[in-house]
Symmetry: C2
Subunit: 415 residues, 2 copies
């Protein structure tokens, strides 16, 4: 088994060498061909997905988890459209980020190049299989994908289509390896194969991230949880602030950029809290508040220590009254997850202090935390949102799946 998995990883490394030097045209042709193949295989894909859904239902899977596993005509259409969009995005490879003459007269260029082999471990969301392959491939990398075992049949058909598209273009199919085993020992072995794998991206729940973190000898960029805060400053447009806070929770409560906590400056608490509480009640959101919040919002439940820094991913929000901007920032430093934080204020000095002192991957002024997203920030597509500070911090698009190297032209320079 060790030998089999090692030769799989070695084949991915070899394929990465081939993918690295493909032209933009070659890469886009594969992506568009794959889009067509998926479009033409809807019935087969839905049948495979039904097998996964039947097994999951038999195993008692329900709710959001079952929903994430489910493919539909709509979600297949989004996959196809996503591939076409990625084909349309600029190719990051070869992009020159610096170009200058060094003191010695050497002509120095800093250029984007592929990372190599990227391993991605994610939960049972079959669409991620196509997104992850497309982004890694366009950025010149080979990928090893390990999706949740509940999605095995769906992932297998999608990966087969992608490997067919690679093969048809004369590119080694090992540019995409789908791991079909969920054997933890095998995954552990891969996580130690630094000679073949350059980066592992775990995306998913706490347990998955911890497992990867514990066993990885290869660099990881973690896509961990989002405990996103909104601070409502003393100088604020209360109506607008209520709307931002409410929608930041309700528009997609299970996403990592949904607001999980609202901190309110004490001088606006009397006016703001009852209004937000009424709005949240209408929207079906439960409030876990400190004593002051509970005194102002009859529908609030008393918060416990566990509520601060909690990622609910549900229609629940923590609320607290703070005495100052400084207290809000301290709270965020203590309980935030470096993901996304927002300040709502009409005071430019307060906004400047907040954006300087809060060093989350995305800090927003007068906008919902829901905007920390690759599409919303104009990256075109994203593989996830990194909460690691190393390599990439925040949404990871094509550029973040590359690294940079120096290409230097000399005139027989010596030193």
């Amino acid at each position: 088994m060790t030998r089999a998995i090692e030769s799989t990883a070695a084949a991915a490394r070899k394929a990465a060498g081939a993918v690295a030097i493909l032209t933009t045209k070659q890469k886009n042709a594969v992506l568009l061909d794959l889009a067509a193949r998926i479009d033409q295989s809807r019935t087969t894909i839905l049948r495979a997905n039904q097998q996964d859904l039947d097994a999951a239902t038999a195993n008692g899977v329900t709710g959001p988890k079952l929903k994430r596993l489910t493919l539909s005509a709509d979600s297949i259409g989004q996959m196809v459209e996503g591939l076409r969009q990625i084909a349309n995005l600029p190719d990051p490879i070869g992009g020159v980020t610096k170009d200058y003459a060094a003191p010695s007269g050497l002509a120095v260029r800093k250029q984007r190049c592929p990372i190599g082999v990227i391993m991605m471990i994610y939960e049972a969301r079959p669409n991620v299989t196509i997104d992850a392959f497309a982004l890694c491939f366009k950025a010149g990398n080979a990928c090893i994908l390990k999706g949740g075992r509940e999605a095995l049949h769906s992932n297998e058909i999608l990966a087969t289509l992608a490997r067919d598209a690679l093969g048809a273009a004369g590119i080694p199919a090992e540019a995409l390896t789908l791991l079909t085993t969920s054997d933890r020992e095998t995954v552990k072995r891969l996580l130690a194969m630094e000679q073949y794998i350059d980066l592992v991206i775990p995306r998913g729940g706490t347990e998955l991230i911890r497992f990867v973190h514990e066993h990885a000898r290869i660099p990881t960029v973690q896509h961990f949880h989002g405990v996103c805060h909104i601070y409502v400053d003393k100088d604020v447009d209360i109506d607008k602030a209520v709307h931002v806070c409410a929608t930041a929770k309700t528009s997609a409560p299970a996403t990592c950029n949904a607001a999980e906590a609202v901190l309110v400056h004490e001088s606006v608490a009397d006016a703001f809290v009852p209004m937000l509480a009424r709005r949240l009640q209408t929207d079906g959101v439960e409030i876990h508040g400190d004593a002051r919040i509970c005194s102002l919002a009859p529908n609030a439940k008393p918060a416990t220590d566990d509520d601060w820094g909690h990622e609910y991913l549900d229609l629940i929000v923590a609320m607290k009254v703070v005495s100052s901007l400084d207290a809000a920032i301290e709270h965020i430093h203590q309980y935030g997850s470096n993901h996304t934080e927002a300040i709502l204020t009409t005071n430019e000095t307060a906004a400047a202090e907040f954006t300087q002192r809060v060093q989350s991957s995305c800090v927003l002024v007068n906008a919902s935390t829901r905007f920390n997203d690759g599409f919303q920030l104009g990256l075109g597509a994203e593989i996830g949102i990194s909460t690691s500070k190393i390599h990439a911090y925040g949404p990871m698009g094509l550029e973040e799946l590359t690294t940079q190297r120096y290409v230097v032209q000399g005139d027989w320079h010596t030193r």
Copy 2:
């Protein structure tokens, strides 16, 4: 002990928050003050260094290792000058790398921000203590430094001067922590403290890198060895190529960017190899060559399998005749370390193919491998040369000691 080391790491994290928001002026003032303090403390520093040298000599340390440990009026002068240079470099923090309006109308900036707490582990070179602190600090980070135990007294006086300069400016002295223990268990514990430390940079020998790699739960950027190749193409100016190859080995044979292997295209071997062999003999360099090299260079010793991919760090060079550019690239893929590779050629097509297919951190055309160096490439200063592809690849200067985050201005945007 665990508790003591944990509170040390926690204090570094807290200090990092203070360093992150210092102005450029405040940071430069500390660097210049430290330069003055070092300048005025030469006697004390040299006395501490003598203690280290005496102990090392008593323990049988000799050669390059003793030389690296030795401080002198000259090397202290370089430290002082280095601090002044770093004070003069542009501050990377707050630098805007992207600035645009997102589709929603949000004003998006991508800005450089500090990484946080950087731990650096290095061998017995006291000057690295000052360089590493200065670079980390200017880039807005706190640092935890663990130098080789042979340099303990030297490092202690240097770190004390730095902490004095911090204290005099009202900045927490924990912005620089010098680990004075060499207890491996303590280091292991630190390497797992991801809640306090954001990045570890191991710089040094194979054993050190392996130790860090084995135990780190925090991200690492490795500064591993350089097995640098020069490929001499069939179209080449032989006189110039001889000079580049010889100096790439002899100008500083113990550095990571020295050439360790020369690959020669077979069609120029008859003319080139005897000339390079004579030059290397004059320069006192031993050649380990394949059969063809040995037939052309009477002073060459037969190479064994161990010679390919070997980092000599000494006046020894491996030489091999290859049948084509392709064979040279294959050899580099098999034996190179992703550090630095050069092609010597007058053929632009060959140069383009080489620079595209060889994805080392620095690839040079008609220039010595010795130019893969932060100063030579115009970074102003470097903390080392990363052979990791993640986060930074190649020389790491101030920018590479930062990360980037999004700062977004909205007009009460929701989604």
